[in-house]
C-alpha cells in the first residue's frame, strides 16, 4: 500500500511520478490476477490443445499470437502459462515472506544470541546465488517441489533484511524506553511487526514476487522447474527455442507476459522513499 501513499511517516513527500509507478505496479498485478483467474475464459483453447492449425503460422486474425511448432494457439498457451507462473510465484513469495520476514523479526528476540547464529548461517547461504540454491534444492528433492525450492531459496535475502531491520528497531530509543517502562517483549515485537508491515510490506513482497517469478521461469527454462504437461512461461519459452529464430512469435509473447509480470512486481515494490526497487 506504501506505493500509494502521498508521503512517508517522517513527512517526506514521495515524488509523484514514482508514486504513480507504484500504483501502476499494483494495478498491473491486480490485472494479471484477473487474467489468471479467468484464464479458461480468455484463452481460446485448453492448455496443450492443438487446434489443427498449421504449425508455426504467424499472427493473423484467427490466431492473434500465431501458432507454435505443434499447431497450438500461442495466445492460449501464454495465458495458461501465465496462470501457472503467477500462482507458483505467489506461493513461493508467501513461503519466502512467512519464513524469511517473520522469522527474521522473531529471531532477533531469541535468547543466547541464537538469532545472531541463524543470521550468520543465513549470510553463509547467501554466498551462493538464489538461482543456484534453488537448483540444488530441486535436485535434492524433485521438480514437483520447485515452487517450494524457490520460496526457500529467496528466504535468506528476505531473512537478512528483516533481521537487520528488526535489530535496528530492537536497539532503537523507543525499544529502550519500552523495556525500561516494563512493556513485555511480545508487545514490542507485535508493534515492530505492525510498523514493518505498514511501511515495508509492499516493498518486500514486490521484490520477493519479482525474484520468485524470475527464478521460477529460469528454472523451467533450464529444465529444473515445472513438469509437463503443466507449462509455465519459462517452459513455454524453452520449448520454443528450436523454432524462435524463424518464428519469433513463439517466444516474444510469452516473454512479454513474463517481463510485464516481473515489471509490475518491481514497480509495486516502491520503498518508503518512493524509490522503485
Amino acid at each position: 500500500m506504501n506505493g500509494l501513499l502521498a508521503k512517508t511517516d517522517n513527512g517526506r513527500h514521495i515524488p509523484a511520478f514514482r508514486t504513480v509507478i507504484g500504483a501502476v505496479g499494483i494495478a498491473g498485478l491486480g490485472l494479471t490476477a484477473v487474467v489468471v483467474a479467468l484464464d479458461n475464459v480468455i484463452a481460446h483453447a485448453p492448455a496443450g490443445a492443438a487446434h489443427g492449425a498449421p504449425p508455426l503460422s504467424p499472427p493473423d486474425v484467427g490466431f492473434v499470437f500465431g501458432t507454435d511448432a505443434l499447431g497450438r494457439d500461442v495466445m492460449s498457451e501464454t495465458v495458461h502459462a501465465l496462470a501457472v507462473s503467477f500462482s507458483s510465484a505467489v506461493f513461493a513469495t508467501a513461503i519466502a515472506i512467512f519464513i524469511g520476514a517473520f522469522a527474521g523479526f522473531a529471531l532477533v528476540r531469541m535468547p543466547l544470541g541464537a538469532g545472531r547464529l541463524v543470521r550468520f548461517v543465513s549470510g553463509i547461504v547467501r554466498t551462493v546465488p538464489a538461482l543456484v540454491l534453488a537448483i540444488v534444492l530441486v535436485a535434492l528433492s524433485s521438480r514437483d517441489f520447485s515452487t517450494i525450492a524457490v520460496g526457500l531459496a529467496v528466504c535468506p535475502a528476505i531473512f537478512n533484511r528483516s533481521f537487520d531491520s528488526a535489530m535496528s528497531l530492537a536497539r532503537s530509543r523507543h525499544a529502550m524506553y519500552a523495556r525500561a517502562s516494563g512493556i513485555p517483549g511480545f508487545t514490542l515485537l507485535r508493534r515492530d511487526l505492525v510498523y514493518e508491515l505498514r511501511v515495508n510490506f509492499m516493498y518486500v513482497a514486490g521484490r520477493a514476487l519479482a525474484a520468485s517469478a524470475t527464478i521460477l521461469a529460469t528454472l523451467s527454462f533450464l529444465g529444473f522447474g515445472t513438469v509437463p504437461p503443466h507449462r509455465d512461461l519459462g517452459l513455454v519459452i524453452a520449448q520454443a527455442r528450436d523454432s524462435y529464430l524463424n518464428a519469433w512469435w513463439c517466444v516474444l509473447f510469452p516473454a512479454l507476459a513474463l517481463v510485464v509480470f516481473i515489471l509490475c512486481a518491481r514497480w509495486a515494490a516502491t520503498d518508503a522513499g518512493g524509490e522503485a526497487s
Binding site: 551462493v128 537448483i135 529464430l245 517481463v259 514497480w267
Partner: protein, 295 residues
C-alpha cells in the same frame, strides 16, 4: 579501528569455515546414511576431509572433484571478469546519468523495463539479433570451441558467437545491478543533510560532490560488490548453458543433472569463496575510503 578489522577478518574466516561445513552437509545429505549419529559422524568426517581440500571424487569420472571443478573454473572467472568490465563500462555512466537531475531520476523507473528482463531472455534476444541481423552462426566445429581452434579454422562467426555473446549477456545483467546500486547510493548521497550545511559554509557544489559525495557513493558501491558478484555468477550459469561454454557454471548444471554431488559441492565451494573474497575486499576498500567511525 583495529578491533573492527580483527572482527572482519574473524568473520571472513568463520564464513569460509561455514561454507566448508555447508558443502560437507550437502555432500552427505545427498546420500544420507541411516541414523542421526551416523549422519553427524559422516558430516564431521567430510568436514575434516574438506578442510584439506578433499571434497570427494566425481561420480562420473572418478577424478578428484575439486580438481574437476578447478579445471573448469578459469572459463567462468574469465566470463565473470569480462562481464564485470562491461558492466562497469555501461552501468557506471548510466547510473550517474540517471541520478544526475530530477528529470532523469524520474525516468529511472522506465529503465526498469530493461532491468526486469530475465537473463535467459537477454541471451535469447542476443542470439536472435546475432543470427538475424549479423548472420552469425554457432561454431562450425562444436567439438572444439577454444578460441585458438576457432581462429585456426577461420571461424570468426563462431568465435564471436561463443565468446562475445556470453560476455554481453553477463555484462547486461551486471550493468543492470550496478546502475541500480549506483542510483541508490547517489540518491542517498544527494539527500544527505550535511550538503546543505557545507553549502551554507561556502563550499561549492563541485567541491562537496568530489570530496564528500563521491567517496560515499564509491564506498556504497564497494559494499554492494557481494550482490554484484552473485548477479554475475547467476548470469554465468545461464550464459554458459545457452552458449555451451565448458566452464564451472555449465559443469554445475551437468553435475546436478547426473547427481554428481562431490562436483556440485566443489563448484558451490568455489562460487562461495569467490563471493566471500569479493565481499571482503569490497568491505575493506569501502572502509579505507569512508572511515567506519565517521558519523
Amino acid at each position: 579501528m583495529w578491533r573492527i578489522w580483527l572482527l572482519r577478518a574473524a568473520e571472513f574466516l568463520g564464513s569460509i569455515a561455514g561454507v566448508i561445513l555447508l558443502v560437507s552437509l550437502l555432500t552427505v545429505a545427498a546420500q544420507p546414511p541411516h541414523g542421526v549419529w551416523f549422519f553427524a559422524k559422516d558430516v564431521a568426517d567430510q568436514f575434516l576431509r574438506a578442510l584439506t581440500g578433499d571434497l570427494g571424487r566425481s561420480a562420473t569420472t572418478g577424478a578428484p572433484a575439486m580438481a574437476v571443478a578447478w579445471k573448469a573454473f578459469p572459463v567462468t572467472v574469465q566470463l565473470i571478469a569480462s562481464g564485470a568490465v562491461l558492466a562497469l563500462l555501461i552501468g557506471l555512466p548510466m547510473g550517474f546519468l540517471l541520478s544526475a537531475g530530477r528529470t532523469l531520476r524520474a525516468a529511472a523507473p522506465l529503465l526498469q523495463i530493461v532491468t526486469a528482463i530475465p537473463v535467459f531472455l537477454i541471451a535469447l534476444a542476443l542470439v536472435w539479433i546475432a543470427v538475424r541481423s549479423f548472420h552469425m552462426i554457432a561454431p562450425v566445429h562444436p567439438e572444439d570451441t577454444s578460441l585458438t581452434a576457432l581462429l585456426r579454422h577461420g571461424d570468426w562467426n563462431g568465435a564471436w558467437f561463443t565468446y562475445l555473446l556470453p560476455i554481453l549477456t553477463i555484462g547486461a545483467a551486471g550493468s543492470a545491478r550496478l546502475q541500480m546500486a549506483l542510483r541508490r547510493a547517489a540518491g542517498a548521497a544527494w539527500a544527505a543533510p550535511y550538503r546543505n550545511g557545507l553549502r551554507m559554509m561556502g563550499l561549492g557544489l563541485l567541491d562537496i560532490n568530489l570530496r564528500f559525495a563521491l567517496p560515499e557513493i564509491a564506498a556504497a558501491l564497494l559494499r554492494d560488490v557481494r550482490e554484484f558478484v552473485l548477479t554475475l555468477i547467476s548470469a554465468a550459469v545461464i550464459a554458459e548453458w545457452i552458449f555451451q561454454r565448458n566452464g564451472a557454471a555449465d559443469l554445475f548444471l551437468k553435475a546436478i543433472s547426473s547427481h554428481d554431488w562431490a562436483v556440485v559441492s566443489s563448484i558451490l565451494f568455489l562460487f562461495a569463496i569467490l563471493t566471500l573474497v569479493a565481499g571482503f575486499l569490497g568491505d575493506v576498500l569501502a572502509s579505507l575510503i569512508v572511515s567506519e567511525d565517521r558519523p
